[in-house]
């Protein structure tokens, strides 16, 4: 069952008003729904199709938040939250598959040959996540931008809207964040 939209709406409101603790409560509410949707999407889309992260999140948004209830500001926040949730979900999965590095079957072995290739990429995903956490320590804003784009599937314009930045700033910050992350990941790999 999904959470009651009223509760989610209320938590989104609290979070947007600066109640950081609301996020901790929001994620467990949103998580199962997003994961369920992600699975449905994966099942539906053939590998040839591009996976529409934002479409997925949008659907989650429509299902989780009462249709009658939330202004755009909250909607933007929802995307921001959803990006974090997606990050959590994906990294969680990637980490649970890191067992592959040790050479055995993963804790949850994907049941598809395709997934075996993906498991090799899981390590990259985990490395990126670690680097992103480090980046947040020195530059919170850049890490948020990467999170929204990479995990939330938001475009530069949407990120600008959510973070109240100019699109050009988002673009510059993205490029710098990318250079930093790549360098960081290469460093830890070597």
């Amino acid at each position: 069952m999904s959470a009651l939209p009223e509760e989610i709406t209320r938590l989104l409101l609290s979070w947007s008003e600066g109640d950081e603790a609301a996020l901790d409560r929001l994620i467990p509410l949103v998580y199962p729904e997003l994961r369920r949707l992600a699975r449905i999407y994966m099942g539906r889309e053939s590998p040839a199709h591009t996976l529409q992260t934002s479409a997925l999140i949008n659907e989650a948004y429509l299902r989780l938040v009462d249709q009658h209830g939330v202004e755009w500001q909250n909607r933007a926040h929802f995307f921001a939250v959803a990006a974090q949730v997606m990050r959590h979900i994906l990294i969680d999965h990637a980490r649970s598959h890191r067992y592959a590095k040790r050479g055995a079957g993963a804790k949850r072995v994907p049941l598809d040959e395709v997934a075996i290739v993906a498991r090799e990429r899981a390590a990259e995903l985990v490395a990126l996540d670690d680097a992103l956490t480090k980046l947040a320590e020195i530059d919170e804003r850049k890490s948020r931008i990467v999170e929204l784009r990479f995990f939330g599937g938001l475009t530069g314009e949407e990120i600008a809207e959510v973070m109240k930045l100019s699109p050009i700033t988002v673009k510059r910050e993205w490029r710098s964040a990318k250079a930093w992350l790549h360098r960081e990941i290469s460093k830890s790999a070597s």
């Binding site: 069952m1 009651l4 996976l51 055995a104 072995v109 990467v146």
Partner: protein, 974 residues
């Protein structure tokens, strides 16, 4: 690096990166002014920038897509396709998904195969397939699967066929070496099926172990006649282009390539002799335990099929070698020309073997047969406690409902009257106590101490944190006292378990096994390279675990508890692996059960037994699961194992009796999933992690929350927007499956009936004053816009009353003539909505208030409207009263909005009630119309409220929901 320094680097990088590469050097020369460290930092960023790294450019979801898939089937239990109700997913392959389903019309179980859309797109090919499949089914042969129905529903083509309980030949081959008698028996049945098909002019074209089912009673069934032709995989007519040939670059057809005849591999036309070749490959594999043709890639495999002779069989009768060689001739002219000849040779071989009576195989077979019958006898005579409890639950749905209801309480004793379960042996009265240990939302690993006095669990310190930290806790069961023994840290507690003496807690973090004193203290390293869960030998001196040896191989290992004396017990090569979910050492010490998995399209898990001294394998069960949620655990008397595992649905608890292996589910409530099982040393107390989302409708007689009682039992998981009808029934909106619809049930929660279906999202039902109609909000006319609708109380005759956007929260005036509702634009907040009214027959709406207003109710005398209101478009919204005729509020109260649910007048109209939502707790509050501060009406301390309504005679209805993940402790489990 401090932030100041980083800003400097970042600034210079952003400036430099905009310049041409040749300008950058001089720019940096100036800007860094001799700060070499700064310059080299910026330069390394620039170098990194120019690498063209694009990993983050693609959405993460794409990267992780396959990880997330988990082969989640498209339909879930309870979904319906036409008159078929899905029970669970059975499997998935290149030719679609297969489900076990109930044919509601004929009341029988069927296997429902949904064909992929790309295959069924070609109409003429589809028709040919249907003809052929029907023709094969019409042969009505015991070795050919019976097809009930080939049809199209909701744009998906499906085949409904006889449901076969058993396993595929592939599965049997991957788990067990076959005796020659078994192989002959199976081969003769396959050949018999092919014989009648070939006689009728039907070629199978895709004979392979995956398409052959072995029923438990020994019958063999050949599946999928004609399907290969539909898929266009094997047949190419002379004029057909190469595009129709098998796509050998895709690994997915590898399995199929293996069984292709040379003419199929060349893309030539095939006849019945192609089936003979494929049959020969299968026969070879059954007898030899390996495939006759092998190759690293599909093209290598094809080369082997075309050119290579399979390795000669040793230890097999010459006659068998001769039969197989003749079936596997490269030229179809040299092969058996008819399956009839082949069948005759096989039968003769079987008879000769029987007559001679010699050979170890026959003796083995007999021994097997007697073992099976003995174990069956055992299975019948000793019914486990769980089994009879569960069968009791199944037979007495009320009891099940009772259990579910009482799970909400702590420490409820359930006594089953055995008279009602009299058909079962051991019919003594038994008491099973279920203790729920609540607030375990963040527990991820759980273990119970050998005595059952303590439960240790690892808790995530907050899922919002990117790198979730875990803390370790010990709970004293009797006192429900929790002590944190390790504070949150970046440590995982995989495979959490107590030592046999209960003195230490073991866990695996990043592949290293640690132990920590059960009362807390320092963790010490025991062993490296441990896969996950460990299990102790009965004497507690040794432990078993799984380990990845290399990329290809996993091993079941045993070591002394101090980490010395490691040795390998058994190994598995990819695609099989010994799962880290863990070994389980039997109480007599003579067997280690371990989850074994297969990495494959239809990958599965099963439990195998291994002798710890010799490594000899022992079959434990033929059952397979698609995912595992816990270690397998031996029952203390060695009579079987329990584990949490899933077969396409939620994780449930299973019992696998030993040695019969007839696994059965001992929990079967799809609202819950279970994981992290643990058992006390005496086998009496079972611990498990149980999770679910639950909601229920509660009745509060006269609004008294201390007398509140749920009137729904949890069959529905979702209730919101509850409303009384004048005749005392209850309307509500519910998410069932993937849609939200309107339902009605009796005032006592019985007899739920769905009123809307297949017509958009439907919510916020309200009865008309005379109870004839239901008013509701729906986007059925236009997916993007919600409007007010009216339908008859039986769900018929839906009429659209308004045509704007963002219209909802309808309520009927007491005289039955008007519908008051709120309206705004798409995605509007309550702050952007205003109140309107429209005639119950539709027509032009009238705005009642031009300031932000929503969530209305009308006073019993019909003169006032209570609503949420704001003077300007800024929060907070407050409870207010406006005249029914419309206009400015006559009163605005202090009560502020925390949930987007409409307000409701109390039965006498003296107060306005509304939901006050706090984190995870909602209550209904009451604002006196005469003024003064609002007062809390209900005294709930948990759950959130998704809707409420007063009945005419003053009883309050609430829908309440909560997410649960609890540890449950089932005492006197056996």
């Amino acid at each position: 690096m401090d932030n100041q320094r980083w800003r400097q680097i970042d600034e210079l990088f952003q400036a430099a990166v905009e310049l041409n590469p040749e300008q950058r050097a001089s720019f940096l020369e100036d800007a860094c002014a001799g700060d070499h460290a700064l310059r080299s930092e910026v330069e390394s960023m620039l170098a990194s920038d120019s690498d063209g790294w694009d990993f983050v450019e693609k959405p993460a979801l794409e990267v992780a897509a396959a990880l997330l898939v988990d082969e989640q089937p498209q339909f879930a239990a309870g979904d319906t396709i036409g008159h078929y109700r899905i029970i669970n997913a059975i499997g998935r392959g290149g030719m679609g998904e297969v489900y076990l389903a109930q044919d509601e019309r004929l009341g029988r179980k069927v296997a429902l195969k949904l064909l992929p859309a790309d295959v069924t797109g070609d109409q003429s090919r589809m028709r040919r397939f249907q003809q052929e499949a029907r023709a094969a089914s019409a042969l009505n042969h015991p070795n050919i699967i019976t097809i009930y129905d080939i049809n199209e529903l909701d744009g998906r083509c499906f085949i409904a066929s006889e449901f076969i309980e058993g396993e595929t030949l592939r599965h049997r081959l991957s788990h067990q070496r076959m005796t020659i008698s078994e192989a002959l028996d199976i081969a003769i049945q396959i050949a018999s099926a092919l014989y009648v098909a070939h006689e009728a002019g039907i070629v199978h074209r895709d004979i392979k172990p995956e398409n052959i089912m072995l029923r438990r009673d020994g019958y063999v069934k050949v599946l999928d006649f004609g399907l290969a032709k539909l898929a266009g995989q094997h047949e190419t007519t002379n004029e057909a282009s190469a595009a129709e040939r098998p796509d050998i670059s895709s690994g997915l057809v590898m399995g199929t390539v293996k069984y292709m005849s040379p003419e199929q591999a060349r893309g030539q036309q095939v006849d019945s002799r192609s089936d003979i070749f494929s049959f020969g490959v299968v026969l070879y594999e059954m007898v030899a335990g390996r495939a006759p043709f092998e190759g690293e890639s599909a093209s290598e495999l094809i080369r082997a099929i075309l050119k290579k002779e399979p390795p000669l069989l040793t230890n097999e009768p010459d006659e068998m070698q001769r039969i197989i060689s003749k079936a596997l001739c490269k030229k179809k002219e040299d092969r058996y020309q008819t399956i009839e000849d082949l069948l005759a040779d096989l039968k003769e071989l079987r008879e000769n073997k029987a007559v001679s009576g010699a050979g170890a195989q026959v003796a083995t077979r007999k021994a097997n047969a007697s073992a099976i019958s003995t174990s069956e006898a055992v299975a019948v005579s000793t019914v486990s406690t769980i089994e009879y409890i569960v069968s009791g639950i199944k037979r007495h749905k009320n009891a099940a409902a009772f259990i579910l209801a009482s799970l909400a309480l702590v420490g409820v004793s359930l006594v089953f009257s055995m008279n009602r379960l009299s058909s079962k042996p051991r019919a003594a009265s038994r008491e099973m106590k279920i203790t729920r240990i609540p607030n375990m939302e963040r527990a991820i690993h759980v273990a119970i101490s050998p005595t059952g006095e303590y439960i240790t669990y690892a808790e995530m310190s907050g899922p919002a944190k990117q790198s979730a930290e875990e803390s370790l806790w010990v709970l004293t069961v009797a006192a429900n006292e929790r002590v944190q023994i390790v504070p949150p840290a970046k440590v995982e507690y995989e495979g959490l378990t107590y030592s046999r003496d209960g003195q230490d807690i073991f866990y695996v973090n990043d592949g290293i096994l640690y132990k920590i004193p059960a009362g807390g203290g320092d963790a010490t390293k025991v062993l490296s390279d441990v896969g996950g869960t460990i299990s102790f030998a009965p004497d507690g001196a040794q432990l078993a675990f799984s380990r990845g040896l290399n990329a290809e191989e996993t091993a079941l290992m045993v070591a002394n508890v101090d980490g010395t004396g490691e040795r390998v017990i058994a190994t598995r090569k990819r695609p099989e692996f010994l799962a880290p979910d863990g070994p389980a050492w039997s109480p007599d010490g003579r067997l280690i059960a371990c989850w074994v998995g297969v990495i494959a399209k239809n990958g599965s898990r099963t439990v195998m037994g291994f002798d710890p001294s010799t490594g000899e394998e022992k079959r434990i069960t033929d059952q397979t699961w698609d995912d595992v949620g816990s270690r397998a655990i031996w029952l203390s008397d060695g009579s079987g194992l329990i584990a949490a595992a899933s077969q396409g649905t939620e994780m449930q608890i299973w019992e696998i009796p030993y040695p019969s292996g007839e696994a059965h589910r001992i929990t079967s409530d799809l609202n819950y999933s279970y994981s992290q099982l643990g058992l006390t040393a005496d086998g009496k107390n079972l611990v498990a992690l149980q999770s679910a989302w639950r909601s229920a409708v509660w009745l509060l007689p006269n609004g008294d929350s201390s007398a509140a009682a749920p009137i729904t039992s949890g069959e529905h998981q979702d209730y919101r927007h509850v409303a009384w009808t004048p005749d005392g029934r209850i309307l509500y909106a519910s998410n069932v499956g993937t849609n939200r619809d309107i339902w009605i049930m009796n005032g006592d929660g019985t007899n739920p009936k769905q009123l809307t279906a297949n017509a958009g999202v439907n919510l916020q039902p309200q009865p008309s004053a005379d109870g004839r109609f239901v008013l509701f909000s729906s986007n059925r006319a236009n997916e993007a816009a919600f409007n007010i609708w009216r339908m008859d109380i039986d769900g018929s005759n839906a009429v659209q009353l308004t045509h704007g956007d963002g219209e909802g929260q309808p309520v009927c005036s007491p005289n039955g003539r008007w519908v008051v509702y709120s309206a705004g634009g798409p995605n509007t907040t309550p702050l952007q909505k205003t109140l309107w009214k429209v005639s119950i027959d539709g027509g032009e709406p009238v705005q009642l208030c031009d300031k932000p207003s929503s969530g209305a109710d009308i006073s019993p005398d019909g003169t006032l409207i209570a609503c949420w209101y704001a003077r300007d478009a800024a929060p907070p919204m407050k409870v207010a009263i406006i005249p029914f005729a419309g206009g400015s509020p006559v009163k605005i109260f202090d009560a502020t909005m925390t949930a987007i649910h409409p307000v409701r007048f109390s039965p006498g109209g003296q107060a306005i009630n509304y939901i006050n939502a706090r984190p995870f707790v909602s209550n209904i509050w009451s604002q006196p119309v005469s003024g003064g501060p609002p007062a809390q009406l209900t005294q709930f301390t948990s759950e959130i409220i998704g809707g409420f309504d007063w009945s005419r005679d003053g009883h309050l209805l609430c829908s309440r929901a909560h997410s649960v993940q609890d540890v449950i402790l089932i005492s006197d489990f056996r």
